[in-house]
Subunit: 334 residues, 2 copies
DNA sequence: TGCGTTTGCGCAATCGGTTGTTCATTAAGG
DNA sequence: CCTTAATGAACAACCGATTGCGCAAACGCA
């Protein structure tokens, strides 16, 4: 800016070589003697020269920028998750000389994304949230821009990285069934439809494997707000649920509050468990069993795949990451 | 990228004018007839031409990028706040043709910031969190890079935008004192030292104005963890506190849990209030009185100031934003 | 009509890199 | 010893914009 940064021309002049040589010394491409190469690199090191990524980008029609898209308005519970994922993305990006441009979009809005993609010419995009009908996905596909979705989607041809919700839910359900639960209620929340379906899949599978009869009336897929959650809890209790499996930690805390208000004891009368094991659970009484995902790793994986994509490499359509079941007091002693 | 975007040269050729003319038509600078101007703009509109910001930046030695710095590891309670501030920054940035580069840094780490500043040549930086001894501030000042701090700092010459914690705390304290509280405990938390000091200032002032005696032994400035908070609560009760003013909502929820465990009724025996009015409070029983800040507006204001700074304009050193006191059940009927 | 001023626009350099091509030098091969 | 190939480095065009300067046409005024 004002500091009058040293340019490649300065380096070239100082060493009495051409810009080309300096450029080649740095990139390692093209023919150059080991000798001059070293000379250039030493000089650069000494004088703390950093190439201007912008000019480099202009010349290469690349920007070394990735765009991370996330909702402008954010559910409280998503934030820590999104933040960790972003940290993971950024970590991998930085290791490869990329930086992160932030795109905060309204739900299913494309104008912001389009602006950034078009006049920033980002090399790739990570979508942190996708919808069943997703205009951003459609836009990116139409424009043939490399992108990766964090989380699952039903769009075809989308490279996805997700937690293995199905297995996670299967394992948790199996554990619960294996320890005497008979009627587990499944409470969906603000999760995307696809995630919910995946978990339901695992839920069903667990029942099948333990050869028990599933009670479909205990499955509540789409609870938009606290009121509906309250209703679902009432219904579940009415129908004799002995366990409530919540789709995220915020819902879970709320459920526990509701149960306390009804003088239903946890885990005495009803067991409770949830997903994400977020820090919102810390210090809760009783300690809540939850499934923990490594959000950071999710971000790293997504970024790795995206970079591969931008190189034109083939990338596996769907990467599933592992999870850990954390059992605590709210499910009793399993 | 692959879509082979239309460039300024294409536009110029198509219209039979020079690149200069097109450029001038767009920027409005330089001499150009109203006639050609319109012709160019129409063509651009029609053919959906978007200038390449990168090239523009290269030519102008600007990047139209701002850098937002926030901690890589984040306290749970900060996140929603940071996210909203960022949204505000982004909003104003976008309106002015700027985009946001994300810089996630470790506490008091500069390497990441330095990298981004040096090879991305961002036009300005927003620091979302500052420390008493802050290497990032020192770095930015040394390099004379325009930046704005969200929150207060004791460094001189730093443009700051902050909530008016002092007035907020004064008003809340006054309200409480005015309705019969005599011994209010002040519980500091993960807040920065400066914020805490500001609030303490307001706290003292409220006591002075109502001509009441402050009990300094009820002021706990620096509670690093839950254990210390527990200790502070015990002490406060011991010393006959009739009200606990918590420095953030997470602390507050924890305090309420502790009180419940001790069978201290809220607001019956002790009143409780906190800061930030974050959505974590939603649906809590009892509803918690809290002070609400407009984080989004904070971000907008910060960005506005930063942009002014980059233009070389003079900017007021400190901008304080307003707040709203939200009284609910936890403080009884005030 | 004549001359100075204003207006409208284009030329070409520039920003800081990359890269295909050329050219001189050295090495290898017969 | 001459031809051919390989090597190392420089030239110059290019990426896509901006901008100082120059030039011609139009305008204003006496």
């Amino acid at each position: 800016m004002n500091h009058k940064n040293i340019t490649i021309a300065d380096v070239a002049d100082a060493l009495g070589v051409s810009k080309t040589t300096v450029s080649r010394a740095i990139s390692g491409k093209g023919r150059i003697s080991e000798n001059t190469r070293k000379r250039v690199l030493d000089y650069i090191e000494e004088h703390d020269y950093i190439p201007n990524v912008i000019a480099k980008g202009l010349a290469q029609s690349k920007t070394y920028n990735l765009c991370v898209v996330m909702p402008r308005e954010n559910m409280f519970v998503d934030l820590p998750f999104f933040h960790k994922v972003t940290a993971g993305i950024q970590e991998t990006a930085e290791q490869n000389g990329y930086d992160i441009l932030l795109c905060l979009c309204g739900e299913n809005e494309v104008t912001g994304l389009e602006r950034i993609v078009r006049n920033r010419k980002v090399d790739g995009v990570v979508l942190l949230r996708t919808l069943v009908k997703d205009l951003q996905i459609e836009f990116l596909q139409k424009r043939k821009i490399p992108f990766v979705a964090v989380g699952s989607t039903w769009y075809s041809g989308v490279v996805q990285v997700d937690n293995d919700h199905e297995s996670a839910c299967r394992e948790m359900t199996s554990l619960l069934l294996g320890h005497g639960m008979k009627k587990i209620a499944l409470l969906g929340g603000n999760e995307s439809y696809v995630v919910m379906k995946n978990r339901y899949q695992g839920f069903v599978e667990a029942y099948v494997r333990s050869q028990m009869q599933i009670d479909e009336s205990l499955v509540f897929m789409d609870l938009m707000d606290y009121d509906m959650t309250g209703y679902a809890v009432d219904e579940a209790l009415e129908r004799g649920a002995d366990c409530i499996l919540c789709m995220d930690d915020v819902i879970c805390l709320h459920v526990i509050r509701l149960l306390r208000a009804k003088n239903v004891r946890v885990p005495g009368d009803v067991k409770v468990a949830s997903f994400y094991n977020s820090s919102i659970l810390e210090n809760n009484q009783p300690a809540i069993s939850s499934i923990s995902f490594d959000a950071r790793e999710l971000g790293r994986e997504a970024c790795k795949n995206l970079l591969a994509l931008t190189q034109g490499e083939r990338v596996s359509q769907k990467t599933l990451l592992s999870y850990e079941v954390r059992l605590r007091d709210s499910t009793g002693q399993l």
